[in-house]
């Protein structure tokens, strides 16, 4: 009886720890891609300032820089939790995996965080203190180090998806081939995919806000230049997302077929060639997928880059894994994986289309008068955020029940000594603080948008207090 009660408590702590990890990570990854994307956009703008020597590019750098810095600050502080959370909530995982998993995290700090934090200080405070070229180099170093940081954290994550370059020694995973760890096929496809996703996030942020100013008919010259940079980076990166996404799915077919099958709602083996399901009604209880709308040949292409080849279904794989790993459920939450995949891929396609249309209109000079299209572009600002999030949900949920694919289950990874009550306390306090941060950020963003690019000093506007009555509505006016 006592064991049962103890067991239940561990279960509760596990569920809460998973919710906390999901919540803090999803929140963190709202800010990270925008930081990576905007750092790059700003670096491009500042480069144009030095090349073309026009003051408007300096103003652009500073205006978009305001959004960047606010966002960057939240990205940094929410990242500290990520660094410590493995030990706090997932101590069994840390013991088993630390030898392999710790190195990329430590390298990330040494190689990326130091550069990022030092040079962002130099950039913010160095406008009048550094030679122009050195100042420009600072923002490029920030931009590059955000990407280096992404590489190392993705290297760590890729090991969880597709463990390579290790051996089980002393009851844990130990690195035997570091080169294999950093050239994991998973990281080679995930890194470009995530970076293009981040660049698109930054680009469409600029495009969306510029579209808003076109609708208001304010500062047209300034935002014409901004929107062109945004659209060009947006087009290149959304095409990059599509191609790297395709290589992701081919990788998935080989290394994580269960995730692939779940993402397709495919219970039984497909025919050959395999059709791709656009939408479907998935019944997880009876293990059936009904009323699906299918595109012939497309799944074969997605999985193999060819119009033939069949794809294994979840039932087949479940039987295989039972033989390999013993009894248990090896099927991840199918609906979550299936729908998040579609949201991500669908929005990715929309981004390609919209940036093409936007660039065409921009070239013909009609963009700023097309009210309907501008309204869509304002909404598009949010699409990359949604796509980034659903992509990660698909990737992490689709790996379940494993925390490290085939090596360790999520349920075995949690800290045995941390009580459900403690996790509940941290979950509630982190959520509360994160909500406040998000509100503060929105208030500040709306203020910057309201002030526009030509406001001289932030301090000059005195009367809007977001915490007093009507404050927020004032700020949005």
């Amino acid at each position: 009886m006592k064991i049962l009660v103890g067991g239940k408590k561990v279960m509760e702590a596990l569920v809460l720890a998973r919710i906390q990890f999901a919540a803090t990570t999803v929140f963190h990854f709202i800010f990270v891609p925008l930081s990576i994307g905007l750092a790059f956009v700003i670096a491009v703008m500042q480069t144009m300032y030095l090349v073309k020597k026009k003051d408007v590019y300096k103003k652009m750098t500073q205006f978009w820089g305001k959004f960047f810095l606010i966002n960057f600050a939240i990205g940094i502080v929410t990242g500290i939790i990520q660094e410590f959370q493995f030990g706090m909530n997932w101590s069994s995982y840390s013991r088993f995996m630390g030898d392999v998993f710790g190195a990329p995290l430590a390298i990330e700090a040494l190689l990326a965080f130091f550069i990022e934090s030092t040079f962002i200080g130099l950039w913010i405070f160095g406008w009048d203190k550094l030679p122009k070229k050195v100042h420009l180099a600072s923002i490029w170093l920030v931009s590059i180090s955000t990407m280096i940081s992404a590489f190392w954290i993705l290297t760590a994550n890729s090991f969880m998806q597709n463990p390579v370059g290790y051996a089980i020694k002393n009851g844990r995973a130990e690195t035997t081939d570091f080169l294999a760890v950093i050239t994991n096929p998973k990281v080679l496809v995930a890194f470009p995919h995530v970076i293009f996703g981040a660049l698109a996030t930054g680009a469409f942020f600029v495009v969306g806000i510029s579209a808003y100013y076109f609708l208001k008919k304010k500062d047209l010259d300034f935002f014409r230049r901004s929107v062109t940079i945004g659209l060009v980076i947006g087009l290149v990166s959304s095409l990059g997302i599509a191609f790297s996404g395709h290589s992701q799915s081919q990788y998935l077919m080989g290394a994580q077929p269960m995730k692939m099958a779940a993402a397709e709602g495919l219970w039984e083996d497909s025919g050959d060639p395999a059709a791709w399901t656009v939408v479907a009604n998935i019944d997880t209880e009876n293990k059936e997928t009904k009323m699906s709308l299918e595109i012939p040949y497309a799944l074969s292409f997605l999985a193999y880059g060819d119009f033939k080849g069949k794809v294994e279904g979840m039932n087949t794989l479940q039987a295989k894994y039972e033989k390999l790993y013993g009894a248990g459920n090896y099927i991840p939450p199918v609906k979550t994986t299936f729908w998040n995949f579609r949201i991500m891929a669908g929005l990715g396609g929309v981004l390609v289309l919209l940036s093409l249309m936007g660039l065409y209109m921009r070239r013909r000079g009609t963009l700023e008068n097309k009210t309907w299209f501008l309204k869509i572009l304002v909404a598009t600002l949010f699409f990359p955020f949604i796509a980034n999030t659903s992509g990660w949900i698909m990737s992490e949920i689709g790996r379940q029940p494993w925390i490290v694919n085939g090596l360790m289950r999520t349920s075995d990874a949690v800290s045995p000594t941390v009580s459900a009550g403690s996790v509940l306390f941290s979950l509630v306090s982190f959520t509360l603080v994160y909500t406040l941060l998000a509100v503060a950020m929105v208030v500040l963003f709306l203020r910057i948008i309201k002030q526009g690019p030509h406001e001289k000093q932030m301090d000059d506007i005195r009367d809007s207090d977001p915490f007093s009555e009507g404050g927020i509505s004032h700020a949005t006016k």
């Binding site: 500290i80 700090a109 965080f113 040079f119």
Partner: protein, 337 residues
């Protein structure tokens, strides 16, 4: 020397670097409540650490990352064992980090007050919590055979550890005041020095009490006396030298002295621990040591190469950034934060 011992040393260096650097910006953060008389002075104070605080904090993050990579068991036991203190530490660091960036972005009294409190609490809680944490580490906490730490509230919070926490707060505050005398002008610079002189005795009492309690509650002097006693003697000499330095307005030397004191205190923790990384109060057989909690040779070797290549580069551009912003901060110029 084994690789695991080198890594213990390296992590020690990271934490020493952390208290030396982040120590003064914790102190400056606290001083916004105790030293600044008005809004302009507050902004001057915050701007003295504006370009530096973020990079200083990375020393802590790197220390955590290095622990994970080199001593997975240490990382796992420590962070899960001190779960709630770490939650509070994280909340404090979050509040503080965004506050610097957000505070000046809106000119409303309530907005600024909110972030002022974030800066203050975010600057005073971390040194206190870290002081408590390291003090309880050398005292020992209950650790079972599976290397899991099962500490209750009073294992972590007791007279000894609280004194350790307060000592850290006072030392970082003194260090921050010294930094202010180096980076500001006129009246605030004078007042920072005055405040340090007034605090001199109180700080001495707490630190001496801390050393005395270390003798009572730990075996540090019995085990490592040959190193610790000269080290503490040096600390006393340095501390006594601080008073004339303050009096004669030797700002640079004063800053170096408070910095060295913090370094010595942090180093004393690592010396007292070695070769353990965590001491079990239940059974010394359950101690985590640099040998039984380390990563494999391959990983350690790899990390050593990377660390020895990267750390000098990091130090070089860090020094350069302090050189770029070497001038004193005044309200006559544009204040970014």
């Amino acid at each position: 020397m084994q690789l695991s011992e080198i890594w213990f040393l390296l992590i020690g260096v990271l934490f020493v670097g952390f208290v030396f650097l982040e120590g003064f910006d914790f102190g400056v953060g606290m001083s916004t409540k105790f030293l600044a008389k008005n809004e302009v002075e507050k902004r001057v104070l915050i701007n003295t650490i504006g370009p530096f605080w973020d990079a200083n904090e990375v020393w802590l993050i790197t220390g955590g990352g290095a622990m994970f990579a080199a001593f997975p068991h240490w990382y796992a036991t420590l962070f899960s064992g001190y779960y709630l203190p770490f939650v509070v530490l994280l909340l404090a660091l979050i509040a503080r980090g965004v506050a610097f960036e957000f505070r000046g972005k809106m000119n409303s009294v309530k907005w600024k007050k909110t972030w002022d409190w974030s800066i203050f609490l975010g600057s005073i809680l971390p040194p206190f919590l870290l002081g408590v944490l390291f003090t309880s580490l050398i005292k020992g906490v209950p650790i079972d055979k599976e290397m899991n730490m099962t500490a209750g509230f009073f294992d972590i919070v007791n007279i000894y550890t609280v004194v350790g926490g307060v000592a850290f707060v006072l030392l970082t505050y003194m260090h921050g005041l010294m930094f202010i005398t180096l980076k500001t002008t006129d009246s605030i610079r004078e007042r920072a020095r005055e405040q340090a002189r007034k605090l001199f005795l109180a700080c001495a009492v707490v630190v001496v009490l801390f050393v005395a309690l270390t003798g009572v509650y730990t075996n540090a002097f019995a085990d490592r006396g040959s190193v610790l006693i000269p080290l503490y003697a040096l600390a006393i000499v340095l501390y006594l030298a601080l008073y004339p330095l303050l009096k004669n307005k030797k700002e640079g030397f004063s800053f170096v002295t408070t910095g060295l004191l913090l370094i010595l205190v942090m180093a004393s923790f690592f010396i007292a621990l070695f070769p353990n990384v965590m001491i079990s109060s239940t059974d010394i057989a359950n101690n985590l040591t640099v040998y039984n909690s380390a990563s494999g040779e391959y990983s350690l070797k790899l990390m050593t190469i990377i660390a020895f290549t990267m750390v000098p580069i990091v130090l070089a551009y860090t020094v350069w950034s302090y050189y770029v912003f070497r001038k004193r901060v005044t309200d006559k110029e544009h204040l970014e934060y």
